[in-house]
């Protein structure tokens, strides 16, 4: 059961690589693995909390105003998170900058609220938040590991190969687009091969 859920979040319904949700933060912060991990965990926190609250209040929210309600719930949790990070992790706040407040309008949060938490029970919504957050974090880690290694020859801010000349473009904007194109291409290649075999 748990294994299937994790497989669903990380592989078959991976939010970034399969569903193409939440592209803005995933490309913007994937310049280093540390940033990617921080962003992934931050998004996971908001996703889990908002899924819990939304699945609790789903019976009381009128259908017509549900989207504004869902946005307000996630905005509240993002505010909490933003203040917390500002107070206890000023360095992370500096590195992620504007992308922490932007978690509010991340399509993953609203997408899961609308597609899952507003229809399912509390415990299932909680699990969904965890596995989707996990999928998001894992794909961020993959993207940021590629970009940090190629762009600045580092992993977790540590030098990897001495005397390797990094390709600075990968740390800048174009590299983000190329990296995700490459990773998505690999994913769709693996899927088509699996389908051909089946």
């Amino acid at each position: 059961m748990l294994k299937e859920e994790v497989k669903r979040g990380v592989i078959t319904e991976n939010p970034i690589l399969i569903l193409a949700l939440g592209l803005c933060p995933s490309l913007a912060v994937s310049t280093s693995v540390t940033n990617g991990l921080g962003m992934g965990l931050a998004t996971m926190f908001v996703l889990v909390c908002s899924n819990i609250i939304i699945s609790i209040i789903k019976g009381w929210v009128p259908d017509k105003v549900r989207i504004p309600c869902f946005i307000m719930v996630s905005a509240a949790f993002v505010s909490i998170l933003h203040l917390f990070i500002k107070a206890y992790m000023p360095l992370l706040d500096q590195r992620l900058g504007i992308f922490i407040p932007l978690i509010t309008v991340n399509c993953i949060i609203l997408g899961r609220a609308e597609a899952f938490a507003s229809k399912n029970s509390l415990s299932r919504s909680f699990t969904d938040g965890i596995v989707m957050g996990l999928g998001f974090t894992v794909s961020l880690l993959i993207l940021s590991a590629i970009r940090e290694f190629l762009g600045s020859n580092k992993l977790f801010d540590l030098m990897v190969i001495p005397k390797f000349q990094p390709l600075t473009a990968f740390a800048l904007a174009p590299g983000g687009f190329f990296t995700i194109a490459f990773v998505m291409g690999v994913v769709s290649f693996l899927r088509s091969r699996k389908e051909a075999r089946a």
Partner: protein, 208 residues
């Protein structure tokens, strides 16, 4: 003169050097979602310019005269989201009533905009300090920042739509078909836009 220079700098930076889509990765969902046809890309881009300008003006006033005096800036995120969502609804109503022709061309894109992260980002950026003057944004500066960021988005979106219309005819490898090839095109465009960062020297020293 000084404030005029700062406006030019803001506009130049927002449109070209720090283009919202291609340098800052903001508003990627509509950038890939609505860029399949040139006509819809133009409509969406114009709607974004329009809403960004008005949202920048509104949120600046709310920030300066409500949030700051009452010392409740920590509610920024919630308040701005609420303003943007209701503003978009209001604009939709007003446009439908008074300018039906404009509503016909932009109307269907308006609901999409309320969760556009580029719009939210420009509003948040306007609450920070102006990178060129080192002071908080003035009313005119933040309005210009909104308009110019919208124009930057419009340019990127229209260029992308032009490329994707041609890509329809191209023979793309099967694994790269769809989104991956769009990402590669965007990457090449971003590489071209990286060339504008040479202008930042001019923009940074121009005002001094």
């Amino acid at each position: 003169m000084n404030s005029f220079m700062s406006i030019v700098q803001i506009a130049l930076a927002a449109v070209l050097i720090q283009n919202f889509v291609l340098a800052r990765f903001l508003g990627l969902c509509p950038f890939f979602g609505v860029s399949k046809k040139l006509s819809s890309a133009t409509g969406m881009g114009m709607a974004v310019v329009f809403v960004m300008t008005i949202a920048s003006m509104f949120t600046w006033v709310v920030e300066r005269y409500i949030l700051v005096p009452f010392d409740i800036r920590y509610l920024e995120i919630i308040v701005f989201i609420l303003i943007i969502a209701s503003l978009v609804q209001l604009l939709e109503l007003i446009m439908r009533k008074f300018t039906p022709s404009l509503y016909e061309s932009l109307g269907i894109y308006l609901p999409l905009i309320s969760t556009n992260c580029a719009l939210f980002a420009v509003v948040i950026i306007n609450t920070g300090t102006n990178q060129f003057t080192g002071r908080p944004f003035t009313f005119i500066e933040s309005t210009i920042n909104g308009t110019a960021s919208g124009i930057g988005f419009l340019i990127a979106l229209v260029l992308m739509a032009g490329i994707r219309e041609k890509l329809e005819l191209a023979d793309v490898p099967k694994t790269l078909d769809g989104l991956p090839i769009a990402f590669i095109s965007a990457g090449l465009m971003a590489l071209a836009f990286l060339g504008f960062s040479g202008l930042s020297f001019f923009a940074a020293s121009g005002g001094q």
